[in-house]
Amino acid sequence: MANILSSGKIGKKHLSERGLVNLFIWPTLILLILVNIFPLFYSIFLSFNNYSVIGNKLPIWVGFQNFKDLLTNEQVWNYFAITGRYALLSVVLQTVLGFGLAMLIREKFKGSGIITTLILIPMMLSPVVVGLFWKLMFNPGYGIFNYLISWLGIPLTTDWLAKGDLALWAIVLVDVWMWTPFVMLLVLSGLSAIPEYLYEAAAIDRASSWFQFWHITLPQVAPLVLIAVLFRSIEAFKSFDLAMGLTGGGPGAATRLISIDIYTRAFLGQFKTGQASALAVIVLVVIIAISNLYITALNKAKES
């Protein structure tokens, strides 16, 4: 008995295991609650209210009115369509190009390490910076982009960012330039995890390279490709900084992605905080839905 008591005393001098756990968890948790969880719930709360941060009035509960207004607004549907087209184009291009690049630098060759690192650079830059310097490159007067295109024999003096149909493509192009390396990196790690003996077995089984690609390489990396597509789709759907830096949603509303629309509602003009919150909640629901589709597919791919 005496022993147990005295050892208990010693325990109090030091941190108990429980105390240590709390010490590590709580600072992170408090930070998360302050900057993530509280704002999330607050914006959900605001989405049911008529409220403006500069209005100097308390939120007024309006139920689903904000949602009703937004979902019956044809403009909002148009912005969703723009965002969808943008996400589809850039994710498909990134996946195809990233896969291709990964297949190319899969075999080690002299300088392949340096080339891999160089390819990865765009991914490490800040999207705002990328937006800005691509804006300079796209400039019809002194930008280098049109000059480079003229090398291909196409004499163009277009202002890419000022033409409605081209501006979205311009953003897609920059997004692809920036994020293809990310897809490549994931696919590359998937490719390097395929055991060599599968290809040996396939060579013995007289499978052509094409057959090997479709029946071994592709199914083996499919889970990682799906993860890349999942990440990029979510990112593309809520993409803001790149497009904002390049076009600011223009010309007109040709590149007004849904997140730019939220931003405009929240911080430009009327500061419709409640309505912007409602739109943000809608986007959140859409993204969760898309993610679930992918995760279901991913689990299916992993089962095999």
């Binding site: 040996e200 077995a201 052509s208 029946h215």
Partner: protein, 361 residues
């Protein structure tokens, strides 16, 4: 069906030989076992035959056709990998069908062939499963099925039973042998297990240190090993090898016993070694016959009961141990001195410096 011929085949990794110049002809329908300790070059040889590994020099012929630089897929051979190498993302059925699908065989033909081969290997109930969930033995059956389904000209098997439990190995060994008897397909089989090699092979190629030590039937390599390595490696336990002194037609063993070899051997020893020389006497444990008269005497050091017989470890002197098999009916105590004679038919001699067997003239 195919013959396989290796002509001066060499494999080098850097400066190091993996396979020293190797010559071998494998007849149509033959079951040849490449046997040797790990790192002796047997798997490298098999991989060169398959085309998975390029030769450093020399030529490989399949049915008389030079295939040295042909891609594995151009050789029409099946290869059973040590760790099965099944396609993990495909079902058992698709694994077996893979070589046929790769050749764009018609769907109904594939269906029939997969059905036949899965009946043959008793894996019909597994067709819808994936390889990851199967036992080692079942995975090996699937790997065999994938090899069998396309009716290849030859089978190459790289320690296919190496990853299985001991008792299951015997079952699979019998199954593979039965398959061979039924299919009559040329088979090259790699193993480090000499019991497996003896049980399965029509011929055994014993390899060590990147070179072929002996090529022969199981009986030949067992009874007439060409050198000390083969004598020691084949059999469990291996051949007893005792350094003796030869003078005047008599051998003096360590411990002082004197053994008089048969007349034919005396002539051979006189001619090939000369008088007053050291020679290695070799005999299998079962060549010894315990007898009353003092021929070779030794002290019992260990008694191993093997069921059908008793294996005795005997001290000739402090440094020299021989092992002999005796009738299980007789009991020996530790430390007893026993006398034995050797079956003259089963006595072999080796040159201690070249390590090669002497051939009786």
């Amino acid at each position: 069906m195919a013959t396989i011929e290796l002509r001066d085949v060499v494999k080098k990794f850097g400066d190091k030989y993996a396979v020293k110049p190797m010559n071998m002809t494998i007849q149509d329908g033959e079951f040849v076992v490449l046997l040797g300790p790990s790192g002796c070059g047997k798997t490298t040889t098999l991989r060169m035959i398959s085309g998975l590994e390029a030769v450093s020099s020399g030529n490989i012929f399949l049915n008389g056709k030079d295939v040295t630089w042909a891609h594995p897929s151009a050789r029409d051979i099946a290869y059973v990998f040590q760790f099965y190498a099944l396609y993990p993302h495909l079902t058992v059925r698709d694994n077996i069908a893979f070589p046929l699908q790769a050749q764009a065989v018609k769907r109904d033909v594939i269906e029939r062939r997969v059905k036949d081969v899965s009946n043959l290997l008793k894996i019909k109930h597994l067709l819808k499963r994936r390889p990851g969930g199967l036992s080692g033995g079942d995975q090996q059956r699937v790997a065999l099925a994938r090899a069998l389904v396309r009716h290849p000209a030859a089978f190459l098997m790289d320690e296919p039973l190496g990853a299985l439990d001991a008792d299951f190995r015997e079952t699979m060994r019998a199954e593979i042998k039965a398959l061979h008897v039924a299919q009559k397909a040329t088979t090259v089989y790699v193993t480090h297990d000499q019991i497996e090699a003896m049980a399965m092979g029509d011929r055994i190629v014993v390899m060590s240190n990147a070179s072929v030590q002996q090529i022969g039937t199981p009986a030949e390599v067992y009874h007439s090993p060409t050198n000390l390595f083969v004598a020691n490696f084949i059999g469990s336990p291996g051949m007893n090898l005792v350094k003796c002194h030869y003078q005047g037609g008599k051998l003096t063993l360590p411990g002082g016993s004197v053994y008089v070899p048969a007349e034919g051997w005396q002539k051979t020893l006189d001619h090939q070694l000369g008088d007053n020389q050291t020679v290695v006497l070799g005999f299998r444990p079962e060549a010894a016959r315990v007898s009353g008269e003092p021929k070779i005497s030794a002290d019992v050091f260990l008694v191993e009961m093997n069921g059908s017989n008793v294996l005795l470890d005997l001290h000739l002197d402090d440094d020299n141990i021989v092992r002999i098999r005796t009738n299980r009916g007789v009991n020996y105590g530790l430390g007893d001195t026993i006398n034995f004679d050797l079956d003259p038919q089963m006595v072999r001699f080796f040159n201690p410096s070249t390590e090669a067997a002497l051939v009786m003239e």
